[in-house]
Amino acid sequence: MTRLGGAEPGTLNAHNDLTPAIQTAIPSRSARAALPRAVRDPAWARWFLTAVALVFLAFFLVLPLVIVFAEALSRGLGYYLSSISDPDALAAIRLTLLTVAIVVPANVVFGVCAAWAIAKFRFRGKSLLTTLIDLPFAVSPVISGLVYVLVFGAQGWFGPWLIEHNIRVIFAVPGIVLATTFVTFPFVARELIPLMQAQGTDEEYSAVTLGASGWQIFWRVTLPNIRWGLFYGVVLCNARAMGEFGAVSVVSGHIRGETNTMPLHVEILYNDYNIAGAFAVASLLALLALATLVLKSVVEWRQTGTP
């Protein structure tokens, strides 16, 4: 249901699953409005609690979002456009896109494999395996970067061998890709596992009895059933991969135009007191976050059937 870090789609699934139960208890919206008087809160309490919730969310969620765009445009549209089309900014955008193009497909393949093995078969140690898949959520991003330095860094296990063969992993693109893979590791898997477990194996068994091969079953039966869950997992994985800061910060080496991803470029501009420039690049990431929230809502509404 819940996880450390990352979004909470499991919870959402849980509450989607609960929708039918609620619908039987409370047939319709109008019936719900007419909650028994004993269960309804007095008007002043409703107003007060709603006001408290909205003020709290305004300060902690809405203002930070608004200030990103306000600061980004504080020196005018021209400065904004030149900030995001600056060669270093473009290099950072390219590197971020390259990282995502490697990390997301890798984690999709893993997620589908893990979900297939866990949801369609029974074996010992299944709960241990699902816990281990969640493990990266419990690890600080900084530590996720650090462990790769210990394996591939100059002082690390493979360090001397890599130096001998003139291969750079740490302070180079492979390190960024590996650290990002670690951090986004569970997203697709934990979206698909509960979904495929809930769907069971009946349809696949029917396909087998009708003579379908393994790949035919996957492409024609399983994939159409899980496509929205898979899409959702990809959206979440993508958002986190683009925005990852701590882990990438440890392994990147911060070389401008070479090993800077978008969040690292934001940091550099900000530390150079180029506030408007930092927020201009940050606004692109904020737009990505908003797009993620919109897509998430769309998937949810599709799943629950409410418009």
Binding site: A7, L54, F60
Partner: protein, 294 residues
């Protein structure tokens, strides 16, 4: 830490799976391939690198290890990280409950948008959150300028760390309490009311006990996330050693000084704390599931 099979749809008594229960041999293909890939990928990406941290620390002498993980500067960082994470978790527990309550029980214009935006801290890159919160709470910022005359400094103090961690942990409590609240049938409250309980008694004696497991789970998740958080905190905290230096930042500082063993030793302490928390969260969720099954 998951309720994967919470769905009522799981056909656990399907005729085929009854035979499958005894062995992995079923007529479905692909177990060897997918399981093999899953284990190899898990091992290469997650387990072996994590093992590297423990192996590195195992090579240290006991006195070096203690010196690395218990020096005054590190102790100050633990106090800040754990203290601010607990404070942020508690604030989120109170306000998260209110937000979840308002979202489930009341209706008001724009509710659907508010519901969607609760997930913002999950979707917004932490570095963006960090610079946005710093700009807001700096002495000349939109919020900071109203606090400055009152003598309240937020950015570059302990309070800044707390604000950033509250932002990061906000969705956890809301999203763990919300489904439980939605699932709660009004009949229970009605029954309590017909038996003569006042509204406050219903809340304190019927609703809160029912919500307690999920509230605690939400708190633990927010706390665990806050402990390791880096991006949103480094900008607003000011990063003064002994005062506003969080543990993840200290690990990076040690790395930049090429003190790999020192950095790894602190990382191992944090990893062990996280694993204990993970175990605790698993137990909490088992408890809350049993609670709701009854």
């Amino acid at each position: 830490m998951s309720t994967y099979s919470r769905s009522p749809l799981t056909p656990s008594a399907a005729p085929f799976t009854a035979t499958a229960a005894r062995s992995t041999r079923t007529i479905l293909p692909g177990f060897g391939l997918t399981m093999g890939f899953t284990l190899a990928y898990l091992g290469l990406i997650v387990l072996i690198p994590l093992l590297a941290a423990f192996v590195r620390t195992a090579g240290m002498s006991w006195s070096d290890f203690i010196a690395a993980v218990a020096s005054p500067r590190v102790m100050a960082a633990y106090r800040l990280s754990f203290g601010a994470s607990i404070a942020a978790g508690l604030v989120n527990m109170v306000f998260g409950l209110i937000v979840a309550w308002v979202l489930v029980r009341y209706s008001f214009p724009g509710k659907r948008i508010i519901d969607a935006i609760v997930d913002l801290p999950f979707a917004l890159p932490t570095a963006v959150a960090g610079i946005a919160l710093t700009s807001l709470y700096a002495p000349n910022g939109w919020v900071g300028r109203w606090l400055a005359p009152l003598g309240v400094k937020v950015a570059f103090t302990w309070a800044g760390v707390f604000v950033a961690l509250t932002f990061i942990g906000l969705p956890f409590v809301v999203r763990t309490v919300q489904p439980v609240l939605q699932d709660l049938e009004p009949e229970i409250e009605e029954a309590a009311a017909t038996l003569g309980a006042s509204r406050l008694q219903v809340i304190a004696l019927v609703l809160l006990p029912e919500l307690l497991p999920s509230l605690l789970t939400g708190f633990a998740l927010a706390f665990a996330r806050a402990l390791g958080e880096y991006g949103s905190v480094v900008f607003i905290s000011g990063n003064m050693p002994m005062k506003t230096e969080i543990v993840p930042l200290l690990i990076i500082t040690k790395l930049e000084q090429y003190d790999y063993s020192g950095a790894t030793a602190i990382a191992v302490v944090m990893l062990v704390s996280s694993f204990i928390l993970l175990l605790l969260i698993n137990l909490l969720q088992k408890w809350s599931r049993r609670y709701h099954a009854v």
